[in-house]
C-alpha cells in the first residue's frame, strides 16, 4: 500500500460514488431550484473549475502559487473588452480567445517564476499577480478600480447566456470536461512526470526530464483553465473588477484545494463546493444579542483556516486519496 | 565525586528502519582522552550526535557530571560544559573567522576562563592571519583549526572531536594531532574520532572500536596495540 500522497490517480470507491451522485444532482437541479440558487450553484461550479486548475499546480506538481487569480480575472476582462455595448459577443470566439490570452499571460509570468524554488515561488507568484491587479486598478482606460460592465451576456450557436439555465448547463459541461481532462492527465506521461517533480525534482532531472519545461507547461495550462473559469464568472455576473485577480481570490483557491485534499482533482472540486458552503454558513450566522456573528465572518473564517491546520496536523483534506487494491 | 565525567548506558538509536546504535555502553573519565574508531557507517558520528542531543536516541541513558542529559536540547547540554567539533567542521560561512570565534566566547561551567580569545590565536597562529576572511574562504585545515578553536572558546569540560584529520594533507594533519595532544593535556576530557589509529592511540588512554553500532573492543591503548588482529579485522584493509 503506497502512502496516501504518493499514488494520486486512483479514487476510493466512496469518492467515485459521491462524484456520480453529485453529477446527477447537478443535472437535475435547474428543474427544481429557483433562479437565485441556480446562479449560486453556477458560481460554485465556476470556482470548482478554478480550484481544479490550481490543483494541477499545487496538488500535482507541488507548486504553491499565491497569484493564480491573475489569470482568472484577466480572462474576465478580455470578455469585457470584447463585448459590444449593446449586443451579445459570440462565446465561441471570445471564450477561446480569453483562454488563449490568459494562457499567454501565464506563459509570460511563468517564464520568470518557474525558475525559483520553494518560498521564492510563493512570493513572486503573489507579487506578479499584484502587478496585474495594479495594471487594471491604476488605469482608467482599463476600467480602473470600479471595473467594467458586460451589458449583454454572450450568445451564439443557439445558446444565449442571458438565460440562466443555459449558462448553468454550459458551465456544468465545462466542469465535467475540465475534470475528465485533468483526471486523464494524471495517468499521462506528462502527469506522471509532474508527480515526480513534486516528490523529488532532483531525481526527476537525473532521469532525463527538463523540469523547467514541464513546470512552465503546467503553469501555462493551469493559467488557461483558470482563464476559462474567469470567463464564465464574467459571463455569469456581467461585471469585472480588479478584486477578481486580487490576493484574497488566490488565497481562497488555495484553501479550496487544501480543504478538498490535494493532488487528485476530485478533492479540489469537492473542496470548492465545501469552501463556498462554509463561507455562506459563516456569513449567514444569526445575530446573537446585538453582536452580529455574520458580520464578522472573516474572524471565524480566519480562525478556522489558521486553527484548522494547527490542531489537525494529519488533515489530508476531505478526499485523502488512498490506493485501493494491493 | 565519582571520576566518571560522561556515562552512556544501553544506548539505542535508529535512523528510520536501520538500527544504528545497539545497546551501547561508553564512558569518559575526568581528564581522560578516549579514542573512538571503526570503519565508515559504524555509528561513530551517531554516538557523538546522540551525546550532544542532536539526535534523539530511542532508549538508553546519558549522564554528564552525574546529571542525566538524554532528551535535553543541544544548547542546554552545551551550556553544561560540552563542546562539539562536527564532521564537516560546521563553520558559519556568513561570519568571519573573528566572528566565528567571538560568538562562541563564554566562561566554563565553573567560571574558568583558561581558553581566551588571545590564547586560541596563540595556539592557531594561522587563524590570526585570516581573522577578517569569511568562514567559507578557508582551506580544509584552517576550517578544522577554526572549528576546534571555536569549541575551546566555550571553555568546555568535554570536547567531542568528530573526524579530526579527515581529508587533510599529512603535514596539516600532524599539526592537528599536536593540538589534540595539547588540549588533552590541558585537562579537557576529549573524545577523538579518526581513522588514523596510530596517532589516536598516541594521545588517548582508553579506546573503543565500533562495528555495526556495537562496541567490539574497549580497552587501553597498550591493550589495543598488543592485538593487531583486532585492528586489521575492524580498522585496516
Amino acid at each position: 500500500m503506497s502512502t496516501p500522497q504518493g499514488h494520486l490517480e486512483t479514487l476510493p470507491r466512496s469518492v467515485q460514488l459521491l462524484m456520480g451522485l453529485g453529477l446527477i444532482a447537478l443535472l437535475s437541479f435547474p428543474f427544481v431550484g429557483q433562479d437565485f440558487y441556480i446562479q449560486m450553484v453556477t458560481r460554485m461550479m465556476i470556482l470548482a473549475i478554478f480550484a481544479m486548475s490550481l490543483d494541477l499546480l499545487q496538488g500535482i506538481t507541488g507548486l504553491v502559487s499565491l497569484g493564480h487569480a491573475a489569470y482568472f480575472g484577466f480572462a474576465g476582462y478580455v470578455l469585457a473588452f470584447l463585448s459590444p455595448a449593446d449586443a451579445p459577443a459570440s462565446w465561441f470566439i471570445t471564450l477561446p480567445l480569453a483562454i488563449l490570452t490568459s494562457a499567454l499571460l501565464a506563459l509570460l509570468i511563468g517564464f520568470f517564476v518557474v525558475r525559483t524554488q520553494g518560498i521564492y515561488f510563493i512570493m513572486v507568484t503573489m507579487a506578479f499577480a499584484q502587478m496585474v491587479y495594479f495594471l487594471f486598478f491604476d488605469n482608467k482606460e482599463l476600467g480602473g478600480s470600479d471595473g467594467l460592465y458586460i451589458n449583454v451576456r454572450p450568445a451564439g450557436w443557439g445558446l444565449d447566456f442571458e438565460n440562466k439555465q443555459v449558462l448553468y448547463f454550459f458551465t456544468l459541461a465545462c466542469l465535467v470536461l475540465t475534470y475528465a481532462f485533468l483526471r486523464r492527465l494524471l495517468w499521462s506521461p506528462f502527469g506522471r512526470t509532474l508527480n515526480g517533480i513534486r516528490l523529488n525534482e532532483h531525481r526527476t532531472q537525473a532521469l532525463g526530464y527538463n523540469s523547467f519545461n514541464y513546470k512552465l507547461t503546467a503553469f501555462t495550462l493551469a493559467g488557461a483553465l483558470a482563464g476559462m473559469a474567469g470567463y464564465l464568472w464574467a459571463a455569469q455576473s456581467g461585471y469585472v473588477n480588479p478584486e477578481l485577480m486580487g490576493f484574497h481570490m488566490s488565497a481562497h483557491a488555495i484553501m479550496m484545494v487544501i480543504l478538498g485534499g490535494m493532488g487528485n482533482v476530485a478533492g479540489a472540486l469537492i473542496g470548492a463546493f465545501g469552501f463556498e458552503l462554509f463561507l455562506h454558513f459563516f456569513k449567514d450566522l444569526p445575530k446573537v444579542g446585538e453582536f452580529d456573528l455574520g458580520k464578522h465572518w472573516q474572524l471565524w473564517m480566519g480562525t478556522d483556516c489558521a486553527g484548522g491546520h494547527h490542531c489537525t496536523p494529519r488533515f489530508d483534506g476531505l478526499v485523502a486519496p488512498q490506493r485501493c487494491g494491493p | 565525586m565519582s571520576n566518571t565525567l560522561l556515562e552512556v548506558r544501553g544506548l539505542n538509536t535508529y535512523y528510520g528502519a536501520s538500527h544504528v546504535l545497539r545497546n551501547l555502553d561508553f564512558q569518559v573519565e575526568r581528564g581522560q582522552a578516549v579514542g573512538l574508531m571503526g570503519r565508515n557507517g559504524m555509528g561513530k558520528s551517531t554516538l557523538l550526535k546522540s551525546i550532544m542531543g542532536l539526535v534523539k536516541p530511542r532508549s538508553g541513558r546519558i549522564a554528564f557530571q552525574g546529571a542525566p542529559i538524554h532528551g535535553q536540547t543541544p544548547y542546554a547540554i552545551a551550556k553544561q560544559g560540552m563542546a562539539y567539533v562536527p564532521e564537516g567542521r560546521g563553520i558559519f560561512g556568513n561570519l568571519s573567522v573573528h566572528e566565528n570565534l567571538v560568538m562562541a566566547e563564554r566562561a566554563g561551567v565553573r567560571g574558568q576562563q583558561d581558553w581566551t580569545y588571545q590564547r586560541v590565536l596563540d595556539t592557531f597562529p594561522r587563524l590570526g592571519e585570516r581573522l577578517s576572511h569569511g568562514g567559507q574562504q578557508l582551506s580544509g585545515g584552517e576550517q578544522q583549526m577554526l572549528s576546534i578553536g571555536r569549541a575551546l572558546m566555550t571553555n568546555p569540560d568535554v570536547l567531542l572531536l568528530d573526524e579530526a584529520t579527515e581529508g587533510l594533507a599529512p603535514l596539516i594533519a600532524l599539526e592537528i594531532w599536536r593540538i589534540c595532544a595539547l588540549v588533552a593535556k590541558s585537562g579537557i576530557s576529549t573524545v577523538i574520532v579518526d581513522k588514523n589509529w596510530q596517532h589516536v592511540t598516541q594521545i588517548t588512554q582508553h579506546n573503543v572500536i565500533l562495528v555495526k553500532g556495537e562496541a567490539v573492543f574497549q580497552g587501553s591503548s597498550q591493550q589495543l596495540l598488543s592485538q593487531p588482529d583486532i585492528m586489521n579485522q575492524h580498522l585496516g584493509v
Binding site: 506528462f190 506522471r192 532531472q205 537525473a206 532525463g208 526530464y209 | 565508515n40 581513522k195
Partner: protein
Amino acid sequence: MTEALLEAKQLSKRFGGLLAVNDVSLSLYKDQLHAVIGPNGAGKTTLTHLLSGDLPATSGELWLKGQAVTGWPHHRLSLQGLGRSYQKTNVFLPLTVWENLMLAAQAKDALAPFNPLSWLGRADSKPSVVARAERALVLAGLSASKNSAAAILSHGIQRQLEIAMVLATEPVVLLLDEPLAGMGAAEAQTMVELLHTLKKDHALLLVEHDMDAVFALADVLTVMVNGTVIASGTPEAIRSDAQVQAAYLGEATA
C-alpha cells in the same frame, strides 16, 4: 584501445577556499569497471557530481561518446546515456517500485511536455517503455517487491531500486556512488553480482569503501586524496603502491 565512452580532462571544482576536486583526468571504457577509492572528503562524490552534470565544474572538459558535453545540464547528459545512482538513496519514496521504474523508463523517448499528445496518452500504454521497466525490474532482482511502496522497503532493497532506476533509463555509462553503503553481507553479495553482469556493454564508474567489492570488481583503480588523483592503475599495482598505503590504507606513515 577502443575510444573512451566518457572522458574527463583536468576537471576541477572549487568551493570558496576549498579545492574539492583538483585537476582530475579520467576515462571510462566499454565493458570495464573503473573504481575510485579514497578517504572521506577526498572529493570522490564531488567528482561524480561533476561527471553527471549535478554540479558545474570550475574548469576542465567532459567528453561523452566522443562529443564535447562540458557544461551540459544533468537531464541532457542523462538522455545521452549517462546514468548515475546516489550515495544517499534518492528515489520516489511514496511511489511503488514499479511506478519508480516506469517514470525512469519513459524518460528516454518522452514527448515534449508542451505536446498535447503527452497530456492525453496513457503512461503505461507504450510497450517499449513497459519492456524497459520490466528488464530493469528483473535485472535488479526486484520482481518480488514490484507493487510495494519504496518507503517501506528495507535499506538494502532501496539501494537495489536506486540501481534499477538508473538501468531503466538504459544508460551507456553508469556512475555508481557507494552502492553497497549500509548493506548487510548477503545484500552486498547480490549487488556485487549485479555489478558484475552490468560490466558487459556498459562503462562503469564505482565509488566505494568496501575494499573486498572493489578488488573483486575493478579493472582499473584510481585513488583520490584531498581532491587529487595520487595513483591510478590495475588493482594489483595499486595495492602494493607505497604512496597509496601511506595516504589511505593506514599503514605507519613517515
